[in-house]
């Protein structure tokens, strides 16, 4: 986990999409939002959950590792940048490599875009746009100490499993205090392959 980073707390999210709108205001991808807002329990509940780039630390940035053009750079403070426009060839390797499904590809522009933790803002001490505007604090920007001071007893996870692979991230998720599993299952278990139930 990085020092000052984003903490995602799905329990507080109200699905208002302020983060989505705010992300469109970022000057490095103006007009396009890099936030994914998902509804994990559609039809049963209005629960919602924002996903930003998790800025993977170990293995470091799978998206950058698979980039044939070396377009995705990682800064010394652990922020995984979006593709360098002069290098990116739009091959979408990064989209396939990301375990969290974060990068977006603009096929016409042959360019990958993704959340870069609002580097133009965070480099000057401002918070990222999404966490700045989030009305509920479902996206919180600060250190773990800041978060714990605000929300006594809060539990966070920055380690996720995808099958046998464990990914440690720079961005952390708040997990229910009574259900701390470590590491957190990163994806839903596979239940069907080609239409066949594989759980039996």
């Amino acid at each position: 986990m990085m020092g000052r980073t984003i903490f995602i707390d799905p329990g507080r999210c109200i699905g208002c999409q302020a983060c989505v709108s705010a992300c469109r205001e970022c000057d490095s991808h103006r007009g396009k939002s890099m936030i994914h807002l998902d509804y994990p329990d559609e039809g049963h509940s209005v629960a919602s959950l924002p996903t930003v780039c998790m800025h993977c630390e170990d293995p470091v940035a799978p998206c950058a590792e698979v980039c044939p053009a070396d377009a995705i750079l990682v800064t010394a403070d652990g922020v995984v940048q979006q593709a360098d426009t002069t290098r990116c060839i739009g091959c979408a390797n990064c989209v396939n490599a990301c375990p969290f499904g974060v990068p977006k590809i603009d096929l016409q522009a042959k360019l990958q875009m993704k959340c870069n933790l609002c580097y133009d803002r965070t480099a000057y001490g401002l918070a990222p746009m999404c966490a700045t505007v989030c009305p509920t604090g479902a996206l919180f920007y600060g250190t773990l100490e800041d978060l714990q001071a605000e929300r006594p007893g809060v539990q966070v996870a920055d380690s996720f499993t995808f099958g046998d692979v464990v990914v440690n991230t720079g961005v952390a998720m708040v997990v229910p205090a009574d259900k701390v599993q470590w590491p957190v299952p990163g994806g839903l278990p596979i239940v069907q392959v080609n239409g066949k139930d594989v759980t039996r």
Partner: protein, 766 residues
Amino acid sequence: MTRQYIPLDPSIAPPGTRNFRDAGGIPADQWHADQNGETLVPTHCCFCGVQCGMYLRVDKGGKVFGVEPRNHDINRMRLCPKGINAYQQINHPDRLTAPLMRRSRDEPFREATWEEALDFTVSEIRRIQSAHGNDAFGLLGGASLFSEKTYLVGKFARVALKTKHVDYNGRLCMVSAAGANKLSFGIDRAGNPFSDILLSDCLLIAGSNVGECFPVMTQYVWGARDRGAVLIVIDPRETSIARTADIHVALKPGTDSAFFNAVLNVVIRENLVDEEYVAAHTTGWDEVKATVATYTPDRAAEICGIPAAQVVQVARAFAGADNAMAWHARGIEHHSQGVENCLTVINLCVATGNIGKPGAGYGTITGQGNGQGGREHGQKADLLPGGRSILNPDHRRQICEIWGIEESELPAAGTSMMEMVWQMQRQEIRGLIGICNNPFVSLPNYKTVKDGYDTLEFHAQFDFFLSETADNAHVVFPVTTWAEDEGVMANAEARVVKHNKAQEPPEGVRTDTWVMCQLAQRLGVGDKFDYPGSREVFEELRIASAGTVIDYYGITYDRLEETGGIAWPCPSTDHPGTPRLFEDGKSYHPDGKIHLQTVEWHPPMDPYDDDHPMSLTTGRTVAHFLSGNQTRRLAGLVEQTPRPWAEVHPSHGFKNGEPVRVVTRRGSEVFPALVTEAIRPDTVFVPYHWPYPTAANALTIDALDPRSKIPEYKVCACRIEAAEQIDEVPAPPTAPGQAAYPEAQVSRTDPLPPTAPQGRGTAERS
């Protein structure tokens, strides 16, 4: 440019922002690659009653091109999607930039000069008033106007038009709460600031979808919960804050007063009443006690369709907490018993001694940006500036002295907005000026509204986009957006905040103030309407409100810029304002007591029968605002929520996205079904921001609360049935020669079922 602010208590701040800096303190050239010459103008959002602070980003050419969060006391950098996208209105291609005119509705609009449009309007006013009397011409204002403009609307109606028929669209918003507050406390505003929520131990939110309608308030709700506060939500739908509430009471629409009476019944039965407080500060307690005696939990369970145990749970949680707060909004106010519903909430707060303490009190959340300020200074049919009554001879004399007219010239009380529409149908009102409102979408029973407006001999509208209502007018005046003029608004806490001018209006656009002054000049009272701008109007407003309950005298533009907002009453320029009322236990009635009122529940006005067994309830969605005139053209918001839907329970057998016809006694419309377990099986929900034929308000009933005259939007009898074809959302109207903005067309070409964009979705897991 570091801003100084004086919060209520510096140690009380919403969570998550203590270590935030806003960009206002950072030299503009340091944090943006392309920031050459960019300036940040501090102002507030134009939308809801929270009134979040924001900066508008202005480029070298003096044009607004973006938004930047601002660390203001109210919102601490937080914004919702409406606030973030609001700036896109300002230089939008659909802006009206020349007056539109036509002699009859059979002709298309043509662009006219300002002279021509103003002269034609005045000649029509004169023609109608000389033939049918002054009261045959009406004026309808709006609560999204700055307070200075709402003051002018009231003055313009009574001094220039000399008509009693003036009202405003806040009549559709929170007059029920206003009526209840006046009856109980003698003052019409929330009792506590938002920051008191952070100190409360139990928070009761009734009829308010805070997560979608006032998203930035949720940071206060969560701040309270982080401290361990209990959250109680009363709502027929499982909204985003109800989802995580400790107690969610999903009662049947239109049964709120029965529920709250029953809660008070349990509070009395379990000896949880603050007897000392009640004895010292209230009147009418014995009558209230006798009334609620019949409202047992079992009776409430039957009326409200909830488990009786929930009534007891709520009573124990609320009355058992050290400091409890109740906030309510349109969900309990939009009823033919709206005032009574609010009274039962007030009774509960007062009986448990939860009034006028940090973390304990009540509040009503205003829907419109100036919903609070819009009714304070004479825009309402029965009120004069400073909340004075138009029926009180002393009050009339005071205002006539300020306005320089004879008391005999001041008209009597007028009628409410919906009643004015009925009067248009009967040709009692033959001419109308509408200022920044859109009744074709926002009033109930659309067919009646359209009929009323079609009957008008002359109709003029002020607006910056061509609204559905303006599209029916003879004259449309293109006026400024909120960022092209300065002025004050009062938010839901009665905190007066100042909006600043960020850019010059486009060529051909004038301020509402200028247009009213020009009309007044042509009507021969120009000497009484000589205002170069908002500042001069505000000075007069201050004097006009001095000495009343709603005292603005101590509030000046300079003070507002220094402090970031002052809560009225503020009688002198060294007075800090009054963020929290009743700290001394005294109400604003002459006897200083809180007058408790008895309430008997009665069924809603639209009776259920075999043909109409279900309840239709309406409301908002987070991406749009009221009639949608300001939001249905902004690409980001249209993309988020392109069209309305009908929210139904899976038990009716509909699949997500299937056409479902909602039928009431006023008509029927077909929406895509949004199938979710987050709504009662006997209830259907449709958001109301869209025009006919996708207007929820073509289905709603125009029954009014007898006291506040608020329409009963929140409940009418309906049935649902399968249908073939979903009704298409019409494109927003545009001025002649203008093509509709392509992004706004998304809603027409995208008949996809509403799933994730509304955060609800399908009951079938994909």
